[in-house]
Point group: C2
Chain length 339, copies 2
Amino acid sequence: MTTLSEVAHRAGVTPATVSNVLRNRGRVSKETRERVMEAITALGYRPNLNARALAEGRGPTLALMVSSIANPFYPEFALAVEQAAREHGSFMLLCNTNDDAATAYAYLNQLSGSLSEGVLVMNCNLDFGTLRQSRAPVVLCMWEKPEEPPGLPCVAVNFRLAGQLAAEHLLRLGHRQIGVIIGNGKGGVHTTRMQGFIDTVRAAGVDLPDSHCRNGLDTVQGGYDAARALLLDQPGLTAIFATNDLPAIGAMHAATDLNLNVPDDLSVIGITDIQMAQETRPALSTVAIPTQEAAEMAVDLLRKLIKHPALPDTPDEMRVTSEPLLKPRASTAPPKHKL
Amino acid sequence: MTTLSEVAHRAGVTPATVSNVLRNRGRVSKETRERVMEAITALGYRPNLNARALAEGRGPTLALMVSSIANPFYPEFALAVEQAAREHGSFMLLCNTNDDAATAYAYLNQLSGSLSEGVLVMNCNLDFGTLRQSRAPVVLCMWEKPEEPPGLPCVAVNFRLAGQLAAEHLLRLGHRQIGVIIGNGKGGVHTTRMQGFIDTVRAAGVDLPDSHCRNGLDTVQGGYDAARALLLDQPGLTAIFATNDLPAIGAMHAATDLNLNVPDDLSVIGITDIQMAQETRPALSTVAIPTQEAAEMAVDLLRKLIKHPALPDTPDEMRVTSEPLLKPRASTAPPKHKL
DNA sequence: CTGAAAGCGCTAACAC
DNA sequence: GTGTTAGCGCTTTCAG
């Protein structure tokens, strides 16, 4: 490993000067700069990022904490985060918590304050109090209630509206017998979207009894199971709304397996618009969340927090993304008149 | 940030001693250890990983280089890598190259030798010569030819066999009119699997003309386009093999859109067994690659290389995973007699 | 415009 | 067993 001082030596200057040309700290004559640059390339010098981080008192990375990168929503987000981080010269550390609070806590503790300058949290089983005690700034990504700050810096998406858009779409198509599948259980992180949906349906004067709602895991299989049970129980349904695309896809499969044609016999709609939503047959109607924008905002906010740590008396900042957007595709259609 | 010496001071010892208890370097009396531990928890001390890395002359992370984490194969691999790395106390840096050689090169240069102790390369548009010059060990993951070492440490999977297994499955079912979709173009990384498939089919005395083969992108859409063109051109086909699951899924969609029932009118099989393969309707028959095992082997090999850098005259090590495994599912069936 | 010097927080000989 | 002493490679005042 060639070091700064080796470069300095070859260029006939001191390490300080080399550092100056590297950081563009001005105050370096053109000639010296050239001599240094020559030495750098000749020696194939690369700065040691650990040493730099230590001297600068900052971490060289941003951490992204997700429950599992294998959940198809996260990769798209992670890609965007990495891109944004990279534009500002940071690397991205990926942390899978597997929905385990201890793992999440361990990560937070080990990384924040040294290896990572800041951490982006998507979903970890940590309470906000713990998060707030992080030694490095934390930004909550994908907060679901723009109108109700979590007491932590965050990027919020109007998920209530997303639910509402899904509902309006189904109502507009003429559906009146509608089922709901809530990913991740009651009181969970999908409550807002569900509420947005249900409120809209009921406000339209359409009956939506609790018996039409099912909890399920936030996975394809979870949606499958929930939808199957629901359809068996409520054969009259003409449409199902799932709080996320994965369970929505599962619901389509369940319908197929029950010999129901989507969308003729059953319309299905989700929320998020993950890549996969376009890649099912029929393609899934959904309400798109501005994933990329949220990722960029999150990195941006985090970087700001790193530069200017929030004062204790400052309200925690919240950034709200642009609005969710309905993406009608082939999985929704007007209900066929049941004979 | 509380530091080592603050802890030392509170415990009435020197930094060296604290370091010793932290690293379990033995030679510390029980009492001292307890006093130190007390100070550590009382002060909420967390080691600065940058400082440690600098002092130890090693990087605190392993880097995983993929073309894009949004490609559904990578998340599963990345998850396994992170798990394995974590077990050995390393964090995982995620590097998306977007198939851009310059980005890949930049990553390699910046990370290797300081931030990252080693790098796992899945697929980057860098030639092996460049990779070989990395300042930190590089392990090629998912090398396709166990019998032909790439001149770089690697984890190999017998992809030729995978192709063979897919072929045998189709032949056994009675297919004789078979199409092939090659992901990622001619001469690309899927050549081995394709060759394994084609050789097996031909060895069985079944005709498989070049006109039954199509190149395509290694995506759902790519498979869709290629399969559509192929099916329009060769309506007599009763089965399609795609060199990867994504294009295989695309092929199923193409069939559906052409009013062909899968598997009654057309059987489809892929390779890999990504999560999504079980989540399509019909579920995709495929040949499973031991992803998790490969990830563990790769991390293991990388760690070995970090500890004992390969001598210049040492042949580059290759580890071969256990064999691919046929996963017959609902997308393949005997050909229906065409009227 | 450039150099000297101190220090970031930790580890690792080597003494005691 | 524990302390002393040097660094690891870089940045950053502060002098010159």
